[in-house]
């Protein structure tokens, strides 16, 4: 058996042992997410618009991740709507910044990997890089939105009559608790992935100015920064969606 298969089986067994049915469900969500990511790549290779593919696949990934983990209906629905809003806002930010920074495609550091490959493939790489940046933050958006909405729904359970203005403050408070550790997840996740690249930079003795303007470096750092912006924005947006949902619920109850 290949290493991937065995590691996958170990993970599945552990997830079921620790989480039971929820664990199995999360594992299934992970596999489906991989399928969606690969599908996105194949669709873009077939000349579908990268941005539209990313938006559709992004929504599906968010729905899958959020609804397949355990959580009550209200908090899952709120988390999904909020993360979908964040996704749209993020697209509006990433598209102009990627066009401005000109970090699309590959840099001189990639030449060895590109040997023998034709890069003139007729697909706009600005859009491909934009899609990459959006896809890499999807997990973080879903996770943050779920944490905030779960925290708020717990507060609502304990104090059902809490006012919507107080709830706004509570949401930011929950956000303050998670932001430190979430940032570190992103920092280590991305920097772990870029370790080889950073070692390259120091080994080849790039000057400080060269690094700050290097296509690959800027592109990777921008990805981390986009992820951080999306996590920060998730906090007020999830809170706001939750207050709207609660206000709507109360109005309906009031009418009856």
């Amino acid at each position: 058996m290949s290493t991937i298969t065995v590691l996958g089986l170990v993970l599945l067994v552990l997830m079921v042992l620790v989480g039971g049915k929820a664990g199995a469900q999360s594992f299934l969500a992970l596999i489906l997410n991989f399928g969606l990511l690969y599908l996105a790549i194949v669709l873009v290779a077939f000349h579908f618009s990268p941005l539209i593919v990313t938006l559709v696949v992004g929504m599906l990934v968010l729905a899958l991740t959020i609804f397949m983990s355990s959580g009550d209906d209200l908090s899952s629905t709120v988390a999904f709507i909020a993360s979908a809003v964040v996704l749209v806002v993020l697209v509006l930010l990433i598209v102009p910044v990627e066009n401005w920074a000109l970090v699309q495609g590959f840099g001189p550091e990639d030449s060895e990997d590109l040997e023998g490959l034709s890069v003139l493939v007729g697909i706009k790489f600005v859009q491909v890089t934009t899609a990459t940046a959006i896809l890499s933050t999807l997990g973080a958006i879903a996770e943050a939105a779920m944490a905030i909405s779960a925290g708020l729904s717990e507060i609502l359970e304990q104090h059902p009559q809490v006012s919507t203005t107080a709830l706004l403050g509570d949401g930011i408070d929950v956000g303050k608790q998670i932001i430190g550790t979430t940032f570190n997840t992103l920092f280590f996740g991305f920097f772990g992935g870029f370790l080889a690249l950073f070692i390259w930079f120091t080994g080849v003795h790039y000057s400080f100015g060269e690094i700050l303007n290097d296509k690959i470096f800027v592109s990777e750092i921008l990805m981390i920064l986009f992820a951080m912006v999306s996590v920060i924005l998730t906090v007020p947006i999830t809170t706001w969606v939750m207050t709207r949902a609660v206000a709507g619920q109360r109005k309906r109850v009031g009418k009856q």
Binding site: L30, G122, L225
Partner: protein, 371 residues
């Protein structure tokens, strides 16, 4: 920070952030004097006719030549007017299209002081970078205030440590990469948890869980590597590798999963401490059970976070492989297999941290937790 509680104070804070951002962006757009390499600002663009290119795989692309006229902004040739030519393609994978106002690095060729010509090198990108850094810091401070500042501080401190470790790794020619980043992981975790939680028993338990979970996952991974003889792992497909790939891969995985394991153990253990504070009568077994419950709801989304970070990055290269007539399977092996292995190892660490956190918290929490 009290000022930010009032509406007026908040308005001022946003206003100041805007002004600071404006100054930073304007400043980096005019910082050519800080660079040694000559920078040209484009004042006129003459675009040629596009020519059609078809490769062996029937991919159609268009290449266009543009002639850029502009002025050198810095150095010996400051003020010199020059023209350079640049070729860009429709897809712009390895090239870029410049516009009026674009700034780019050029290489100036001086022909014995008679005539000066130049060739385009690369685009200047620091302005966009500074803009995004500003956006993150401003949003963090304005929305999260003090907690945002602490989050920023811990990321900045870790960034500095990371940089020092890379320099150290360079000075040992990469022979000790796993040891350097392994010990760095311990320092990272201790520093971050100290900043986020403070120095107390809760922090020690969280630290022990973080290190234990990460170490376990690496041990499991090595065991599986040994049993399967690393079949289906293509170290040669790793990008930017300048030293022995295997220890480097393990160091990358170790660092990558550290943050997520830390995130998870902080969540579980702080919830358990809060639970014990509210209901001191709970037995160790009951605490363990709640810990497992909390952990099993957050582990799935966390594994997802890392999965997308590790694997989405391979999108452009994987797509290029497909466009160059490679099969789906080969494209996966050569681009995504290492990222998937990394996600799986991190996933194992994240799952193992759940029982570990619950166990350590339930046994080593003070009998009476004081707030």
């Amino acid at each position: 920070m009290q000022v930010l509680k009032t509406k007026r104070g908040l308005l001022w804070a946003w206003l100041i952030a805007m002004v600071v951002g404006g100054i930073l962006v304007w400043g980096t757009a005019h910082d050519a004097a800080l660079y040694r390499d000559p920078i040209m600002q484009v004042t006129r663009v003459k675009t040629g006719k596009a020519s059609k290119e078809t490769d062996d795989f029937h991919n159609v692309d268009y290449q266009t030549k543009q002639v850029l006229s502009g002025k050198i902004l810095n150095g010996k040739y400051q003020g010199q007017r020059l023209t350079v030519s640049n070729v860009y393609s429709y897809s712009q994978a390895m090239d870029q299209k410049y516009h009026v106002g674009s700034q780019l690095f050029v290489v100036v060729h001086d022909h014995d002081g008679q005539r000066v010509t130049a060739t385009a090198k690369d685009s200047k990108r620091d302005t966009a970078l500074v803009f995004m850094v500003w956006l993150v810091v401003a949003l963090l401070l304005l929305i999260m205030q003090f907690s945002g500042f602490m989050a920023f501080l811990s990321v900045a401190a870790n960034g500095v440590l990371f940089f020092l470790a890379i320099v150290l790794n360079g000075s040992t020619q990469g022979a000790q990469v796993l040891w350097i980043f392994g010990s760095l992981a311990v320092v990272f975790a201790a520093l971050t948890l100290w900043l986020v939680i403070g120095a107390n028993r809760q922090m020690l338990i969280t630290l022990a869980t973080t290190l234990g979970g990460t170490a376990f996952s690496i041990v499991v991974a090595l065991l599986v590597f040994h049993l399967t003889h690393e079949r289906g792992m293509y170290y040669e497909s790793m990008q930017y590798v300048t030293q022995l790939p295997r220890p480097l891969f393990l160091a990358e995985t170790l660092l990558g999963s550290l943050g997520a394991v830390m995130d998870e153990s902080t969540d579980i253990i702080s919830s358990l401490f809060a639970l014990k504070r509210e209901r001191p009568e709970l037995s160790a077994n009951q605490v363990f059970k709640s810990g497992r419950q909390i952990g099993s709801t957050i582990m799935g989304p966390l594994i997802n976070v890392l999965f997308f970070i590790f694997v989405a990055d391979t999108f452009p290269m994987a797509m290029l492989y497909l466009k160059n007539g490679n099969s789906w399977g080969y494209t996966f092996s050569m681009n995504m297999s290492m990222g998937v292995v990394q996600s799986l190892i991190s996933g194992i660490g994240i799952v193992l941290a759940v029982p570990l956190a619950s166990f350590l918290a339930s046994r080593f929490m003070d009998k009476k937790v004081t707030a």
